[in-house]
């Protein structure tokens, strides 16, 4: 395969998504097209409930598109594609498994050979600063730690693309910032593609290579911003950067143009 470099990781071509409700068809996403390049960190921002999450679910093969084409690594999505990692807003850990066993779920499903398992788990625990808690159950962990385990499980699966649906949305401000740093550190080391959904504009600018701004439902792309802030980024210093402020202002502007009045 000589042309793999040119095939984007994810491609959406005029994709429309809708839900069947008791009152009839509800259009959620309207003719959206975009691509996620290899090693790109793409962030989708838009008002809550605008259909961003539905786009992620469709890419992961959990929801079928009404029309249009979705492909991952050049293959049409028809059920969950290979090498996709997903992270929900809630941690979705298995409460009856401890930290180590939860991470091992990712190894199980990636088919990692038995000889490598112990070292992979140890690596991930160290990477996510969870080594001390390897035998703790989710009920014993704080929200931030549970999210780190959740991230660990996804990384254990070795996905080529990570789909993250407001993964830190339920966390307090500080923990959220810490998780953002953690994610950037991992992404900068491994350079997988990330498609990240959020409604937090500052989070979007801080993390992204590129930000797509969505309208309220039915979602359409209203703006695209390439974030040219230098990497590696220090999230703590970023706020003082005038470019950072300019990007957030521009995205605020793009969102404001489409103020639906109901948030």
């Amino acid at each position: 395969m000589t042309d793999t470099a040119e095939i984007p990781r994810i491609r959406l071509d005029k994709v429309s998504l809708a839900y069947a409700t008791p009152r009839g068809r509800l259009a959620v996403v309207d003719q959206v097209s975009f691509a996620v390049e290899r090693a790109e960190f793409l962030v989708l921002v838009g008002p809550s409930g605008c259909g961003k999450s539905t786009i992620l679910r469709a890419i992961a093969g959990l929801t079928a598109a009404e029309s249009g084409l979705i492909s991952v690594d050049g293959r049409k999505v028809d059920g969950p594609p290979e090498h996709i990692g997903f992270m929900f807003q809630r941690d979705t850990l298995l409460p009856w498994l401890n930290v180590r066993q939860n991470i091992e779920v990712g190894l199980d499903l990636a088919g990692v050979a038995a000889v490598q398992r112990a070292s992979r788990v140890a690596e991930l625990l160290a990477l996510l600063r969870l080594s001390e808690f390897h035998d703790a159950y989710p009920a014993q962990l704080s929200g931030g730690m549970r999210h780190r385990v959740s991230l660990g499980r996804m990384l254990a699966y070795q996905p080529a693309v990570m789909l993250m649906d407001e993964p830190f949305g339920a966390l307090d401000f500080q923990t959220k910032a810490a998780m953002g740093r953690e994610l950037l550190r991992i992404w900068e080391a491994e350079r997988r593609s990330i498609l990240f959904v959020t409604h937090d504009i500052e989070e979007a600018v801080a993390l992204a290579d590129r930000v797509l701004v969505f309208s309220p439902r039915p979602a359409r792309i209203v703006a695209e911003h390439r974030i040219e802030l230098p990497r590696p980024r220090d999230l703590r210093k970023l706020r003082a950067n005038p470019d950072f402020a300019a990007y957030t202002a521009a995205i605020w502007q793009a969102l404001g143009d489409n103020d639906p009045g109901d948030g």
Binding site: P80, G85, L94, W96, L109, A139
Partner: protein
Amino acid sequence: MTEPVAADEMTPAGRPGDNARDISQDGTSNWLWRLGLIGGLLLVWEFAAGHLFNEFWSSRPSLIGERLLILFRSGEIWRHLDATVTEALLGLLLGALVGTPIGMALARYRRAADILDPLVMGLYGLPRVALAPMFILWFGISLFAKIMMSFSMVVFVFILNVTEGIRAIDSDMVDLMRTMRAPKSYILRKVTIPSIVPWLLASFRIGIGLSLVGAVVGELIGANRGLGWYVLRAGGQLDTTGVFTGLLVLMLVAMIANQIISRIERKILHWRVTAR
């Protein structure tokens, strides 16, 4: 996910040590209260009988204790205990064995569940005690008749609890497994089965009492031994002490069985408890 039992055990992350000490202290003082309460009631009973009303109607704790001693000394009690416990236990296990897969199937096949729902609820609502004469007719006064009686009492508890347990599974959890292309058997093993374990344990807890009811009812209709039969015979002879003794032993059986389930619960569901 909703929790069928002991949701109060779920606490946010905290310092494990403190929690464990609090629980054990509470446990001890609860036992003291319990013993005090029971002792007090027994004392009131002992002195009221014979003073406030004729002890013929109520017997009294000392007489019951004496009877219990006689039954244990002669070994007669074992004949009855053995019969009733065997009937109830086999009925309970059969109920679990049959009810669990039916419950899983009803959760899996929504349409079938909707169609069958009135039937299941109708059978569940039916006072199955009224079936006892039929069971005796069909199965005779055999052990099997009582097992079936006990089974008919508990099977619905398993069916309904397991169905509800599976429906309560967090769909995000399953979706997450699907995004990692987990085979169905893997999801069953890692998500579905562990999710219904608390519901199964709750079913056993409820089922203990019901299976004893089934066994005793079976014995009341036709038997020549068992605690239910003992109570019935004592009643027929106007032997109130015998009746209360039989009831006491039945109660003790239920309490011990309940303790066993609690132990198992604590062992299997240790992941719910914050304290390590």
